[in-house]
């Protein structure tokens, strides 16, 4: 009798030792430690650590952020995986596509965070994402030639953002002079040449827009030697009602011309588009967008896993039920919604619950993607636990309380999973 128990115990011993040392003892230790203060077991604080959990701004942010993660990631990962799996089911290059989508799974989350941190750089010259946005934005709305300028005479009024307009009306046959100063020499387009005062035009308005400044100053509102014309400036002509009637751009010597005009009073102005600044990039790593950036990166990593699992589930569905639904009068959407999805439900719930647990414990990608300056804004529970315990604060009491809290959050999902496994068996 004893020998039977003895043999059984012998076989269990290695497992008991490992579980005891690495799981059970630390868990119990953490639980008790959470009721003591920073200095150690000599400082019993009761449930103060747990109160701090819900009162300190840092931890409340972490809990809020984690709530966003839970609300967004499992649903998106499941949906994206489902879409990929269904769409690639019938294409010949599905293996190549699936391999590409699955690839991020082969990278550690930390490395993925580094990749996204580089891609998310704000400067369009550095960050791939902002560079792509810049290409699209500049194609739709090209940047102007200048970033800033001031009018050189009182007759010219306005600001770069609202447009600069000549105050005195001009009539066909007049010459409009639009002198600008305050332009850094580096911003003058390289194609610019000596400004030219144009001849008056019968039945039209000629004009010049130039940099009314030369080394030594020069006289305001006069086109002089060594003053350069400003090319590619957008000019607008307004009638007496203030309606825009024509637009043009200036030549390399700064001259421009509106012809074929009826008699009357007009105004000439430099359009605001001349001064439109190039795209400066979205602050993906700034405090406002850091959590969305993290979510996108995390979904990118896990979409492959979700797709592969769901594709396997999809392959197991009987083709005949889909065909039956088609002959039963269902269109493709109804087939998907009423036949494919219900049969995929067990698989979808496995993916969803797996992602739920992953997301509650999320840690590494936040550390590697979020710059130190915004980690307070990007905080999640697991990161807060680590930073509180080891990241300089060395408050093991509060850190343990966070750990216990996280454990309690995971328990219901674990129970759900256990129940699902039991039902399968």
């Amino acid at each position: 009798m004893w020998s039977r128990y003895g043999v059984a115990f012998l076989f269990l011993l290695p497992a008991i030792i490992f579980l005891g040392v690495w799981v059970i003892y630390p868990a119990i230790y953490t639980f008790f430690r959470s009721f003591f203060g920073q200095s150690g077991f000599d400082n019993f604080v009761g449930i103060d650590n747990y109160k701090a959990l819900f009162t300190s701004d840092l931890l409340v942010t972490a809990i809020k952020n984690n709530a966003i993660w839970v609300a967004v990631v499992p649903a998106f990962v499941t949906a994206v995986g489902l879409i990929f799996a269904v769409l690639t089911e019938r294409v010949s290059w599905s293996v190549a596509f699936k391999t590409a989508v699955f690839m991020p799974m082969a990278i550690s989350a930390f490395a993925a965070g580094v990749i996204w941190r580089i891609m998310d750089q704000q400067d369009p010259n550095l960050g791939a994402i902002n560079a792509s946005i810049a290409v699209v934005k500049d194609a739709i709305n090209p940047p102007g030639v200048l970033s800033d300028a001031k009018p050189s005479s009182d007759n010219l009024q306005g600001t770069p953002s609202g447009g600069i307009t000549l105050q005195n009306p001009v009539q066909p046959g007049d010459v409009a002079k639009l002198g600008l100063t305050g332009i850094p020499p580096t911003e003058v387009p390289s194609s610019a040449v000596q400004a030219v005062m144009p001849e008056p035009l019968q039945g039209g308005i000629n004009g010049v827009v130039w940099r009314d400044f030369k080394p030594g100053g020069g006289n305001p509102n006069e086109v002089e030697q060594d003053e350069l014309g400003l090319p590619d400036v957008d000019l607008a002509l307004f009638d007496s009602n203030g309606d825009q009637v024509a637009t043009t751009t200036s030549a390399d010597d700064g001259t421009f011309s509106f012809d074929g005009l009826e008699q009357g009073n007009y105004r000439v102005g430099i359009a605001a588009s001349t001064f439109s600044t190039p795209f400066e990039g979205v602050a993906w790593l700034g405090e406002k967008l850091i959590t969305p950036s993290l979510l996108i990166a995390y979904i990118w990593i896990w979409a492959g896993f979700s797709m592969v699992v769901i594709a396997a589930g999809l392959a197991a569905i009987s083709r005949e039920t889909l065909e039956a639904a088609r002959t039963d009068g269902a269109n493709e959407w109804q087939v998907f919604r009423r036949v494919t999805v219900p049969q995929l439900l067990p698989v979808l719930s496995v993916v969803f619950v797996t992602m739920l647990i992953n997301v509650l414990k999320v840690f590494d990608i936040v550390v590697s993607l979020a710059p130190g300056s915004v980690q307070d804004d990007a905080n999640v529970i697991a990161l807060a636990m680590w930073r509180t315990s080891f990241g300089g604060a060395n408050n093991f009491g509060l850190g343990s309380a966070i750990a216990v809290f996280l454990f309690i959050l995971v328990i219901p999902i674990l129970l759900l999973n256990v129940r699902n496994f039991r039902r399968e068996a």
Binding site: S318, A325, R326, D328, P342, Q343
Partner: protein, 368 residues
Amino acid sequence: MRPAEPKGCPLADVRFDHATKIYPGTDAPAVDALDLHIEDGEFVVLVGPSGSGKTTALRMLAGLEEVDDGAIYIGDRDVTYLAPKKRDVAMVFQNYALYPYLTVEANIGFPLRIAGIKKEERARRVREVAELLGLEPYLQRKPGQLSGGQRQRVAMGRAIVREPSVFLMDEPLSNLDAQLRVQMRADIAALQSRLGVTTVYVTHDQAEAMTLGNRVVVMSDGHVQQCGPPRELYEAPVNTFVAGFIGSPAMNLLTLPVEGSAVRLGGERVPVPAGATSNGRSTLVVGFRPEALDLATEGIPAEVEVVEEVGADAYVFCVAEVAGETTKLVARTDWRSAPERGARVKLKPQPDEAHVFDLETGERIGET
């Protein structure tokens, strides 16, 4: 609310017009220029060995396979390029294809639900169908909790409930045990004659084909070999393929030299139709059904290999020497007079029951 109107009876004849299907990556068409006209209300069975194109033809009619050439009509509608849901056909699949996550009630009601029919109306029609098929006790069960025969009936119910213009059945009985198969066969035949809906039924089982169809279409290699009432197929097969395929056990086919206007078999002179030898044929294929070979004191000497007793009848499988070649022959006899295995017997053909075919083309010769 719109009152439930009795379904009109638009003529739902089915016409295949040179319908052709070539699967990608293959040269030979799975269905080759199929021409077939199925009358409204008719029960037609497509039968043939596997790979003969019968299921493909059915799936083309259902809209589950694209038609590569030719056209298909249901009534006066050209449905060649219509989606399955627009064809007003209902299909019963070989593996039933029930929705495993739905109850029997929801399975039968699925087509109605898709069609957007109101809940009460749906419940009423599902109940009617369940009553017709004896499924009322099982309405709340899932397909996984049903026996094969019950699942089969649910699949039938799902097809019936829509009142489609054409029923398509793809080997619906092949997954049932023999006894149930015979019973369901009778049920299907009764149901079809009661509902009067045009039905196309695919099977590889020629016994099923012979008992069910108003007309039977024998297919092989994507072609129709013969199309006609079961009796006609049995009594006047148009070629050796049909002769060998229809009937169980199969017809005895013998290659024999012609002597004058007859062939000689076991001392018996079997006359061949006039004109059989007109184009210089010196050899013919002559077929006898097992019931056209009698055990007698005179005839083809043969050795009994196996005796299969089927109730009142016994089929005697023999080996014999015919026209210099060793041939297997089957004869039917009364079970009481069945010989022992290994016995030496004489088989006497009934000359007026002979089927005569061309050796080269396999085509039937004459009006025997």
